[in-house]
Amino acid sequence: MLTAPDDLIQLLTHEGKRVTHADFSLDITDDEIRSLYRDLCMVRRFDNEATALQRQGELALWAQCQGQEAAQVGAGRALLPTDFVFPSYREHGIAWTSGVDPVAILGLFRGTTNGGWDPYEHNFGLYTVVIGNQCLHAVGYAMAGLREGKTEAVLTCFGDGGSNQGDVSEAFVFAGVYNAPVVFLCQNNQYAISEPNYRQMRAPIYKRAEGYGFPGYRVDGNDVLAMLAVMRHSYEHARSGKGPVLVEAFTYRLGAHTTSDDPTRYRDADEVEYWKDRDPLLRVKRYLDSVNTPQSFYDEIEVAAEAMAVHIRAGVRELADPTLDEMFTHVYAEPHPLVEQEHREMTEYFEQFGGMRSPHAAGGH
């Protein structure tokens, strides 16, 4: 059974007690903690809605982030608006704190688009499915920022399994050599689909940083306060010209890898139970209860979450399939004769049948 190591940076225990840490502290009011809790709940709800929509056939797939909300909300809330995010495919919490419309995220999983949002609108890049690729983009983006004289941090996310891709270590090398203001966030949810940490690494991931010449920290990824503190510190480190940082958020994927996955094949119920007790929402709730948070606070969140859910459900059903024209657009920035030719041919071809018909057009399966 995979349990939590005891050398994690922690500011809030899973029993909901605030604790101190020698290197990291957080000056935060209870109201601010409530605001973090609100985000945790909204993200949880977003995730649950998406899972439900997948079950109803509205999405082809969903990659749940349940259990990782604190890691993501902590990382996301510590960002400044000028910072930029290069996510993997499970960063729904950071998408949320960045202001990306959850419906846009779902387009990718519904299969109506390979993207779905404008990366520059919220400084939140497209989800990246090929493991590790985005880490290099983050470094290059940060290198360009240095050339522009900007003091912005760039966040990039990957998983415990993903840490092994050559691209990730090359990103470490480049970030180190160019002193790029990149914060590498590894959400170690202890599984790469079915493969537990011991099949992926011999030493904790955060230790790799030192060999590439920059600091690495291991944080209790289920502790939103610790995450906020360490990420704030790390972005500031990056912004102030000290170079990259690696943060390993030690967490646990409470759900399945994706809705196509069957985690009962590779992990035991009691392990999941152990981690449910360490749920990132639960501990904040325990704390908030201990400081006399009124029920109305929770009720208000419930109302907001329900409103979001309504928006998501309606929005997803309205996500239209691409038209034939859309399908052929944007292969290139400038016209390409072969694309134009095939576009023409397919248009003529479908005209025989009165235009391209979508098997999904009737409104889902």
Partner: protein
């Protein structure tokens, strides 16, 4: 005899190969307890242990590169790449090492390894999960590239591929994983007199006289459906299942085209630079005076694999194939 899906047929083939030769080692992300994302290796780790069914770290170049090292020592690694779109991180190892080692070592090093890749679209997956990269491998001398189109071939070909001394890219048509067929599991595939000698032969999947349809992997079934539909319209289509892309069994195709004089090649990959181009060019050269129409091609388009909800428009289907057949007939 057992009725099995293609996924199960490959599973049984792998099991047989592992029993036959204890140097056979399976390596691939999540192929152990999970049995692979398509369950093709279901139960094999429980049966053979985690030294023979290996869940490696998440790094495709690492998987293929270590497999090369194992093969250098006489082991027979069978690598599973989880999806087509994730083979590219291993591309360097495949093109520069797997393909070239036998040649570079003047035959001293034999890399008997198989790289299994579920490929192609049609299952409504998100991006990078529906690609058809076969042309990138067929252009690379030193590799053999094969693809079964049905459970029986899948069962036999995987065993023959594992027994073969050359490195083989084994493309599994993922949307056909759930197709079923009767498999005769009482015969030892490798003990049949021919061993792997027919592994690279094309197969006439359906005889016909008007137009030859050439396909492999997922599109063979689609072509057979098209041929059945065409029959109703009085057209007789011959369907050739290539089974192997390199070597390419040109004789079987030439024989068919000599009869029909017309040919349509079908694949999911984009037409431009696809395998169909080579087939068209080669057959046209051989059968220049026989061809009554140019070789036509039905394929995916020149774009990244599009969003799943429009893949039906991207992928060749029965109608598009018959449309091209009609065009070929009009010449």
């Amino acid at each position: 005899m057992a009725t099995l899906t293609m996924a199960k047929a490959i599973n049984m083939g792998l099991r047989n190969a592992m029993k036959r030769d204890e140097k056979v080692v399976l390596m691939g992300e999540d192929i152990g307890k999970l049995g692979g994302v398509f369950r093709v290796t279901d139960g094999l780790q429980a049966e053979f242990g985690d030294m023979r069914v290996v869940d490696p770290p998440l790094a495709e170049s690492g998987i293929v590169g270590t497999a090369v090292g194992m093969a250098m020592r006489g082991w027979r690694p069978v690598v599973e790449i989880q999806f087509d779109g994730f083979v590219y991180p291993a591309f360097d190892q495949i093109v520069s090492q797997v393909a070239k080692h036998h040649y570079r070592s003047a035959g001293k090093t034999t890399l008997s390894m198989v790289i299994r890749i579920p490929f192609g679209g049609g299952i409504g997956a998100i991006e990078h999960h529906s690609e058809s990269p076969e042309a990138l491998f067929t252009h690379t001398a030193g590799l053999r590239v094969i693809s079964p189109a049905n459970p029986v071939d899948a069962y036999e070909m995987i065993q023959q591929a594992i027994a073969h001394p050359d490195p083989i890219i084994f493309l599994e048509p993922k949307r056909r994983y759930w197709d079923k067929a009767e498999i005769d599991d009482s015969v030892d595939v490798m003990n049949k007199a021919e061993g792997y000698s027919r592994l690279f032969d094309a197969r006439v999947a359906r005889e016909g006289s008007d137009v030859t349809l050439v396909a492999y992997g997922p599109m063979v079934k689609t072509c057979l459906e098209a041929a059945a539909a065409a029959e109703g319209e009085g057209l007789s289509l011959e369907v050739i299942d290539l089974r192997s892309l390199t070597p390419f069994d040109i004789d079987t195709v030439v024989k068919s085209v000599t009869k029909t004089g017309r040919m349509v090649v079908v694949h999911e990959a984009p037409q431009f630079g696809g395998v169909g181009a080579e087939i068209a060019a080669r057959i046209t050269e051989k059968c220049f005076w026989t061809m009554q129409a140019p070789v036509l091609r039905v394929s995916g388009m020149y774009m990244p694999y599009p969003a799943a909800r429009v893949e039906h428009a991207y992928l060749p289907d029965l109608d598009r194939i018959l449309d091209s057949v009609d065009k070929a007939m009009e010449y």
